[in-house]
């Protein structure tokens, strides 16, 4: 099947050019009646009119052909092909009948997960920018509607001693969401894509090395990611992606549509479109309430199946070798409405059969994605968390938690929020608060302060903050866990995962938390070591923790409820060493949190700059912090002397025991 241009066949945009052609067409026909009147006979007049109409239609046809050719030329060569097959028809076919759903999807970040690099989608600065990172210089330019990069051929390094060749490549695809964009260009080998080792960060409005955007062990040079889109991103950044990594090494990737479009959640739409072609059938469906067998409607599936629709991408799959061999050719066999388990079951530590193979054959796989007790540690894998939650596992019928209990893929017209507000998390209106939980736990409404032991309306009284704390990492921030749970000191002791209490009360010890949980809820007190009894949990995780824990703590120190609960006059001392952390992501989060603290909003610091400048910035922060007056009375857990000075010896001893095991979190 031939690749098609990225524009729908049915809905060509009616731009000003089209209107101009139409006006010319009408003006061209206008003199015909006058000419016809001057014709010697009626027959010749009709012939004249027919000829005129014929010429006008021919002109319009030629114009249309030129437009189609221009659109086809907008598609760069050597990229995965957009092909309609297996009953997939693209979102353009849905638009006419479902305008509201199309419009809300179009506004969502699902759509822009991968697009062809056009001015509409590219947000990076390509205005004759020169960027240097990790020893390479990139010249980024825009030429008309196209975006280009000139750089050394890093993916094909020359023999030792030879000068790398500088090459120019047209940016072909852009992948990204509301935080950053990643750019791809054709490698020149089949449909294999090469990744630009730069990421454009929206928040900072700057280019950063791609590695710096993810939590990965630092390396000196550029990590080459040839073919990454074809062998990884394609499964969830496009609709019905087929990697087609062929046995001879060739790559012939195909997608039904770039981005996560209608058919990713509703299944292939060809039969549905055909069934609804006739207006009589459509009205018959309307009279029956709109239920149709020819398409999957996730909102009408039960909680388990509807959540699997989201889960097909938002999960860690328990794939075996044979599964991967199949996947790398045909992609996922899962279709919305079907059983995800029959394709690839999600990893669940409560189902040992889903983890045994991974533990034996891929020992690094689970630690890059899960805490040691099986709770998800990285963003974008919410399905694994959901299905291990008691609200899902023990819920039944309408009281079973599903993704759609809180999220909606189409903003309701009754929703009073601005579109941008909805697109951030695609939550149902009101589900950013306690209503999300109270829709099932209604009996708790009157008991909230008694249950939480926090003032009603305070951050400590919010259901989310205790039962879905920010313990997953991704997109340079902490993100709420989607495994509903109750906080314990034991979980922190056993896994190193911050518990909800100490993530807010950063200045308190694990013993303090264990004592309160025991008094309030009867939770068992774990046997704690000397450090856990004396030093604040937030301090321990910040100084001694691994890169993932440090990232979470760096984020928490900038989190408003944590600053309200734990004060904001001590965090700078702990964020300062993180400004020179080995991990780019930790440094980035630390500087962001530091800038939110009083007096540090104008911090002169570049997280991607040279180490000596970062060190100097950290020393300046410490020097400024020392000048600020504070009391250290009763704050021994923060390693503060009574006069407010830092116990530098204890501080450095803990810092010297930092967990420097290389860690990568695969979000």
């Amino acid at each position: 099947m031939a690749p098609r241009p990225p524009f729908g066949k049915l809905c060509l945009p009616m731009g000003s050019e089209s209107i101009a052609v139409f006006v010319l067409f009408v003006l061209g026909l206008a003199p015909l009646p006058i000419l016809a009147r001057r014709a010697p006979s009626r027959r010749e007049a009709w012939i004249l009119v027919a000829c005129g109409i014929g010429v006008a239609i021919a002109v319009l046809g030629v114009r249309q052909q030129a437009r189609v050719k221009k659109m086809a030329a907008a598609v760069p060569a050597g990229i995965p092909a957009e092909v309609h097959q297996e009953g997939y028809v693209s979102s353009q076919a849905c638009r006419a009948c479902h305008p509201q759903q199309y419009d809300t999807w179009r506004a969502s970040f699902h759509r822009t997960m991968t697009r062809i690099a056009t001015p509409e989608y590219v947000k990076g600065d390509f205005n004759h920018r020169t960027v240097t990172a990790k020893g390479l210089t990139y010249q980024l330019d825009r030429r008309g509607e196209e975006f280009w990069v000139e750089t050394e051929e890093f993916w094909n390094p020359p023999p030792a001693g030879a000068r790398p060749q500088r090459v120019r490549r047209r940016i072909a695809l852009v992948t990204g969401s509301h935080h950053m964009q990643v750019y791809w260009f054709a490698s020149g080998e089949g449909r294999k894509l090469e990744q630009l080792p730069l990421v454009y960060l929206f928040e900072a409005q700057r280019w950063i090395p791609r590695d710096a955007a993810f939590l990965k062990p630092p390396v000196a040079g550029v990590r080459v990611e040839t073919g990454r889109w074809n062998d990884t991103c394609i499964s969830c950044h496009a609709t019905r992606g087929q990697p087609r990594l062929l046995d001879d090494g060739a790559i012939d990737s195909r997608v039904s549509e770039f981005g996560i479009a209608c058919e990713a959640c509703h299944g292939p739409g060809e039969a549905h479109v055909r069934d609804n072609q006739s207006p009589w059938r459509r009205y018959a469906h309307h009279r029956r309430g709109g239920r149709q067998e020819t398409i999957t409607q996730p909102a009408r599936l039960d909680a388990r199946l509807s959540s699997q629709v989201c889960g097909q991408c938002h999960f860690v799959a328990a794939m075996r070798g044979a599964d991967f061999a199949r996947w790398k050719i045909d992609g996922s066999p899962y279709r919305p409405g079907g059983e995800l388990d029959l394709s690839y079951p999600p990893v669940q530590f409560s189902r040992p059969e889903t983890v045994t193979y991974l533990k034996e054959h891929l020992p690094d796989f689970l630690p890059k994605r899960f805490w040691s007790d099986g709770m998800v540690r990285v963003a974008g894998r919410e399905h694994n968390g959901l299905i291990e939650s008691p609200c899902f596992a023990r819920g039944r019928g309408a009281r079973q938690l599903a993704c759609l209990s809180c999220h909606t893929m189409h903003q309701s017209e009754r929703d009073g929020r601005r579109r941008a507000e909805w697109t951030d998390d695609q939550l149902v209106e009101g589900m950013d608060g306690d209503r999300a939980c109270l829709q099932c736990h209604a009996e708790q409404v009157r008991e909230i302060p008694a249950h939480t032991h926090h003032a009603a309306g305070s951050a400590g009284s919010r259901c989310y903050n205790c039962h879905m704390p920010y313990t997953t990492y991704g997109l340079l921030k902490a993100i709420r866990s989607h495994q509903v749970s109750s906080p314990t000191a034991q979980e922190s002791l056993a896994t190193g995962r911050p518990n909800a209490c100490n993530q807010c009360h950063l200045d308190r010890t694990l013993e303090w938390t264990a004592g309160h949980l025991n008094r309030w809820y009867g939770t068992d007190r774990p046997r704690l070591g000397d450090e856990e009894r004396r030093v604040a949990a937030g301090v321990l995780w910040t100084l001694k923790g691994d890169a993932g824990q440090r990232a979470l703590m760096a984020w928490s120190m900038g989190w408003e409820p944590a600053r309200a609960a734990a004060g904001s006059d001590w965090q700078a001392a702990y964020l300062a060493p993180l400004l020179n952390d080995p991990y780019d992501a930790v440094r980035y989060i630390a500087q962001r949190s530091l800038r939110r603290l009083p007096g540090f909003d104008r911090l002169d610091y570049d997280f991607a700059g040279p180490a000596e400048r970062r060190q100097a910035a950290a020393q300046r922060v410490m020097a400024q912090w020392r000048l600020d007056p504070r009391s250290g009375q009763g704050r021994e857990a923060l390693l503060l002397h009574p006069d407010g000075r830092l116990d530098l010896g204890a501080f450095l001893r803990l810092l010297g025991r930092r967990e420097d095991r290389a860690i990568e979190l695969v979000e």
Partner: protein, 161 residues
């Protein structure tokens, strides 16, 4: 029918279509003003993307109603100009009046209750009205074509200077 008998019928037809035309223009220009107001106040029931079918239907009702009103006026002038009377005129007149009600009326009713991208069942009036309009226009065009052509005045004889 003699010319004396035709005169009152002609007069009635002209008056009927002039009245229908101007009333339709008045009614559907008023509808246009209402639609402008809905735009002005950004009424979601009319402007939201999910209600695009309603917006389209009512825009079509406004446009078709106004144009059909003007067509009625043109029809009246044509009837008077050609002194067109008889069976075909009566059929064309009825078809045009029917179209003037059914076409914009169908669009308007179709926009009251909508099903996502589909209009309500009132839209079924539109094809009936469309056929009526087609019939009226065809009969009128035929009447115009059959009307005797005015004789061309012979050019003045050239004289030598």
């Amino acid at each position: 029918m003699t010319r004396d008998e035709e005169a009152p019928e002609l007069h009635r037809a002209v008056r009927r279509h002039l009245a229908a035309g101007w009333l339709a223009v008045l009614l559907f220009l008023t509808l246009g003003a209402v639609l402008e107001m809905l735009h002005g106040y950004k009424v979601g029931w009319y402007l939201d993307v999910g209600n695009s079918a309603r917006r389209l239907m009512w825009t079509l009702a406004h446009a078709h109603g106004t144009l059909l009103g003007m067509l009625n006026i043109l029809f009246a002038l044509t009837v008077r100009h050609l002194s067109w009377a008889g069976g075909s005129q009566r059929v064309a007149s009825a078809a045009l009046l029917g179209a003037t009600v059914l076409l914009p009326g169908g669009f308007f009713l179709g926009g009251i209750v909508i099903y996502a991208g589909d209009p309500g069942l009132g839209i079924l009036l539109v094809p009936v009205g469309g056929l009526g309009l087609l019939l009226a226009v065809a009969l009128t065009a035929a009447a115009v074509m059959q009307a005797p052509r005015p004789e061309r005045a012979s050019p003045p004889a050239r004289t030598g200077s």
